[in-house]
Symmetry: C2
């Protein structure tokens, strides 16, 4: 659940006076994302998503996030589109927070992705990468390989409480990845968090992508690694090669992977598994009492990390040259 | 926050096959009510509220609640209207819970009710009472004066942790109310929980009433007592006579209060203050660790209870004969 800040009817009415959306018809706090307060706003002009940015989002990053959504939407990617106020700005202030209104995207997340869903996600990811190629602003990936040591330090002392030996295993992984991490791969704007929660489908066709608040610049194929991790494993922990193949082939149909990217894929997927294992571990070890959000289990990503470590080549993900 | 049960895309699609609403376009868990899981559902036919009934609601009461909403809506009360499945039933099963779809009501709750809002609420309450007069089903008020002793027993031992002397003061109040509680007043279906959260306004005109899950049969004027408590006090704890007057006069314009009801109003308002003080006290003393819902402060209603105890007659609420 994610409504950390309440918005009064009076504050909302004042805020909407700056927009061309008519008056508010309803405002419902919704369970979407974990970083910000999100509301489904029905206004006279239609349905919108109102987001209040909470402390985990750096306001200095908002022009990147909102500008990216606008840029992608203009290039045909179906994603929430920032609504500008009459003064031209996409970012306002409401209830003491930076706030933005974006178009409301219809669609439902799939709980149990099938092979066909994975294929569509691969295609959509490649389309997003292509559409983002000429986006003018860039944002460093704070959760890339350079950010992992600090995450590890934050969890190291208590990692073994979660899985015995985890501190040592993580350190070994981190060192190995630092040695073999690829250089010079095609880079650009990546979503960096394209989990099933963030992809909408309508009648089994992909209808949109949401939640660009981890978007940043990094290796494009790293984003494919994130998606392989979040879409192609069964809940049992097993990798589903049919799903992996559908996803990689879907991606490759829209944007051809270079031989270097294909070769690096196991390392990138392994690094992405380490990244989510580490952030989940830190959250897991730091759940405040009475927390509104139940943290994700880091062990899910430890299993995935181990799988990728055992992988010989992209063929193990279903890739056929 | 109130989403206790998750609904998968697949379960939702199967559920909607029984209705004439088209396919689901989106489903968002929303923060509405505290008893059930509520979702704003966009379907091809429009916007709806999907409710999954959690353990605090007795399934045997659902025909009363849903039948009442249907009955009231047919008589012009703007409230959520149950949507019947193709087989004619208003209650189905989803994700292991009893579930219902009702029409989505646009509107916003007012955070700081003004005098005019109170007048409209009084009128709407009287209209609801009139519309409910010929509703065929009845439901005992489990939280009436007969239910307060059990609530008190549940809190008695630890009441003084909240306010020193509270156990004794509550016992005195309970005994006094049991002696002076009126008999034979006009009775019928009451909302029993018409707090500002449950009343919607659009452009400062009352646009609808929601959340009928405490509705039951009791003295009609008791419902006015509930509203005086939840609308006519300032956050400072002071009673606002202008708001009280607007509310009582609004009610009286639509349904004339009998002299007996006017005379009993201070007792009914006092009893209603005790009822909310007691339920809040029980919740306050029994917050489970990691609770998703922050309980309301019982002391707010202790202040109100004391005020009503000091009241001489309905004139102190603004009533003018």
């Amino acid at each position: 659940m994610a409504v950390y800040t309440e918005v009064s009817d009076e504050a909302l009415a004042r805020f909407l006076e700056g927009y061309d959306l008519g008056v508010a018809l309803s405002l419902k706090g919704i369970a979407e994302g974990v970083e910000n307060s999100n509301f489904l706003l029905h206004a006279e002009r239609g349905a919108y998503l109102l987001t209040l940015y909470e402390k985990r989002v750096d306001e200095a990053d908002l022009p990147f996030f909102l500008g990216l959504m606008e840029h992608l939407a203009q290039r045909g990617v179906n994603c929430p589109q920032p609504v500008r106020a009459r003064d031209g700005s996409a970012i306002g202030r409401l209830a003491g927070r930076a706030a933005a209104i974006v178009t409301f995207l219809e669609g439902l997340s799939v709980r149990r992705p099938a092979v066909a869903h994975c294929g569509e996600v691969g295609e959509a990811l490649a389309r997003m990468h292509a559409a983002g190629a000429d986006f003018a602003i860039s944002r460093r990936n704070a959760l890339s390989i350079h950010g992992w040591p600090a995450l590890f330090e934050a969890a190291r002392g208590r990692a073994d409480e979660v899985v015995p030996g985890l501190a040592r295993e993580t350190e070994t992984q981190l060192r190995a990845l630092q040695e073999i991490w690829p250089r010079g791969l095609p880079s650009g704007v990546i979503h960096a968090d394209l989990f099933p929660d963030n992809v909408f489908f309508l009648r089994d066709r992909l209808s949109g992508l949401i939640d660009f608040y981890f978007a940043c610049n990094d290796f494009l194929a790293y984003d494919l690694g994130v998606c392989l991790n979040s879409w192609a494993f069964e809940t049992s922990g097993e990798f589903n090669v049919s799903k992996g193949r559908a996803m990689i082939e879907g991606y490759n149909r829209v944007r051809a992977l270079s031989p270097e990217e294909v070769e690096a894929l196991p390392i990138l997927a392994r690094g992405s598994a380490l990244r989510f294992m580490l952030t989940r571990l830190v959250d897991w070890l730091n759940v405040p009492p009475g927390a509104l959000v139940k943290p994700h289990d880091p062990r899910e990503y430890l299993t995935k990390l181990r799988f990728h470590t055992s992988v010989q080549s992209a063929r193990d993900y279903g890739w056929r040259a």
